[in-house]
Symmetry: C2
Subunit: 299 residues, 2 copies
C-alpha cells in the first residue's frame, strides 16, 4: 500500500572525522523516501528552491518516488551545515538557512491524500496538523525535535493526540516527558496519543514500545566505518514505515520486522556521504543485511 | 566446572536518584561471585579488614561461595563512595579508601588453583600477573579500568597477552586502543591476546566479538526502575563466566547464551541497592528473565 511523507528537502554540507561533503542532497523527506521506495510506492511532499539541482530530482524519480507533491518555490533551497564529533552520536549544527522552507505550506497531491500510510517528518507541528486535515490515512507516524518541544509544546501535544506512532530519539523522549527512564517515558507518550513509540538511540539501536505493554529492542548493526550518519534516523523511519506499508498491517510481528528493516537501511546510509549508498542498494543487499542482523542477535 | 575470581571486596556508600545506601556489601569479586554462584562452584579470592561485618561473610557462604581465599587482614576494609547522575550510565567517585586492598597479595587456595575457569577482576595488572603464575586454568577472563590503561599500560598489555577474554566498557576499549569505532577497537584488542572481547555499554547492552570475526549484540533489559547500577558490570561478568563454567565449553553458541545470562543477572543487580536482590533470585527467576530477553529481541 502506498505511503506519503511530508518533510524537508535540503542541501547538506557535512563534515565528519572521515571527510566532508558540500551541498549534498539531503533532508528528512529525501532519506525517508529513498528508504521507503525499496518497499512501497511513496509520495514525497516538500519544497525546493529554484537552485535545486536537476540531478537530485532525477535520482528521486529513478527510485519511482512520486514527486507531484514536490513544490518548486521562488528562492533558495533549505540548507543545513553540520560537523560531527569523533563520537558520531554527537554533532554541532553550524548553520541553518531555512530559505523556501520558511513559508512552506504542504499540499498533498491526490496520490498523497489517498495513501493509507502517512509520515509527518520533523517540521513545525502547525504544518503537521494542516497535513492531517488534508487526508484520512489508516496509520500515521510522526517525528519531531527538541526545538518544537521547547517552543510549541501545546501544538505538538495536539499533533500527538492524532497520530498512531511517534519516532523520536532518546534525548527528545526524555525532554518531552521530563522523565529519564525510557520505558516509563514511552508509557507517558502512549498517554499523549501514539499507541506505538519508537525511541532511537543512534549507534546503540532502538526500542519499540506498544501501548499494550510489549517491547522490542534492536541494536544497530556494528559498522567498521561510519562515514556520515546524516539522515540515518530518517532512513530508519522510512524503512520502518515502508516495510509496514508493503505488508499492509501494523501487527506486532510486522512492526518488529519493520524495525529490523529500518535498522538495516540506516546502516547503508551511514556508509557514505549523502544518500548515494542508500539509493544504490538492491532488495537483495537489504535481505543479506537482514540475515546479518539475525545472526547478530539470535542466540 | 569450578571458577575462581580474584578481585575487590568492599563496603560501598552509594547515592543514586532513587536513594542512598551506606557501607553496603560490594566489590567486584562479591558481585561476580554472587552471580556466578547461580551456575557453578565458585572460589572468591580477596581481602577484607577486621571491621568486615560477619553478616556479609554469612551471605556469601549461604550462596556456597568458597571463601578459603578470602583473607582477613589487619586494618580496615576497602571503602568506595560514589554518586550517580540522573543518567545512571554516569557517576562521580567521591571517595576511595584502599585500606587493606593497598597491600593485597592474592594467594589462590587449592580449590582456587584447580578451577579450570579463572576471572581476574579489576585490580593492579601486576597482581593479575601474579595470580596467572599460580594456576593453569583452561580459560581466563579479565577486567581492567582506565586507571591501569593510564599508568601501567605495558604491564596491562603483558596480562592481555596471557588471557582468553577481555570484559571492558566502551570508554575503556576506546582508551586502550585509541580507536573510537568499537568493532575496529575489538579487532585491535584481539591482536593483543584475547580471542574473545566483550564491550559493555551500560544501559545500551553489550557487544561480543570473537577473533574469527563473529559478533553478537545484546541489549540491556529495559527496566522501569534502576535503583542502583553499582556492580552491574561485575555481575554481568560473573553471570557470563559462571554460565560458561557450568556448560564446560567456550563454543560460540555457549558464549552467546552466557552473554544473555550475564545481562539478565545484571538487571537484578540494578533493581536494589547493594547485592541483595542478586543474592535472592532463584534459578527460576533467571530462567523467566532469560525468556523475557528472548521475547525482547526475537523477531
Amino acid at each position: 500500500m502506498s505511503l506519503t511523507v511530508v518533510g524537508s528537502v535540503a542541501l547538506d554540507t557535512v563534515e565528519t572525522p572521515l571527510g566532508k561533503v558540500e551541498e549534498a542532497l539531503g533532508g528528512a523527506a529525501v532519506y525517508f523516501s529513498l528508504a521507503a521506495s525499496h518497499f512501497t510506492p511513496i509520495n514525497l511532499v516538500g519544497v525546493v528552491g529554484e537552485d535545486f539541482p536537476e540531478e537530485h530530482v532525477q535520482l528521486l524519480a529513478s527510485r519511482d518516488i512520486n514527486l507531484d507533491g514536490l513544490e518548486r518555490a521562488d528562492g533558495k533551497t533549505f540548507r543545513w551545515t553540520a560537523r560531527y564529533h569523533d563520537d558520531v552520536n554527537d554533532r554541532d549544527t553550524l548553520d541553518t538557512q531555512l530559505n523556501v522552507l520558511e513559508s512552506f505550506q504542504p499540499k498533498l497531491s491526490d496520490a498523497g491524500k489517498q495513501a493509507p500510510y502517512l509520515f509527518l517528518a520533523n517540521i513545525h507541528p502547525g504544518l503537521q496538523l494542516d497535513v492531517l486535515e488534508q487526508s484520512k490515512p489508516k496509520f500515521v507516524g510522526l517525528d519531531s525535535m527538541n526545538l518544537w518541544i521547547d517552543i510549541t509544546p501545546d501544538l505538538l501535544k495536539q499533533v500527538l493526540g492524532k497520530v498512531d506512532c511517534l519516532v523520536i530519539n532518546d534525548a527528545e523522549a526524555r525532554q518531552l516527558t521530563n522523565e529519564h527512564n525510557l520505558p516509563v517515558a514511552a508509557r507517558q507518550i502512549h498517554e499523549l496519543g501514539p499507541k506505538t513509540v519508537i525511541i532511537k538511540k543512534g549507534e546503540h539501536g532502538c526500542l519499540l514500545f506498544s501501548a499494550d505493554g510489549k517491547t522490542f529492542a534492536a541494536p544497530a548493526l556494528p559498522l567498521d566505518r561510519v562515514v556520515d550518519p546524516t539522515g540515518a534516523g530518517d532512513t530508519f523511519a522510512g524503512g520502518f514505515m515502508g516495510y509496514i506499508a508493503e505488508q499492509g498491517n501494523t501487527e506486532w510481528e510486522t512492526m518488529k520486522k519493520a524495525i529490523v528493516h529500518g535498522t538495516v537501511l540506516a546502516s547503508f546510509t551511514c556508509e557514505s556521504f549523502g544518500p548515494d549508498s542508500l539509493a544504490a542498494v538492491s532488495r537483495e543487499d537489504i535481505a543479506r543485511r537482514v540475515a546479518q542482523f539475525e545472526t547478530l542477535t539470535r542466540f
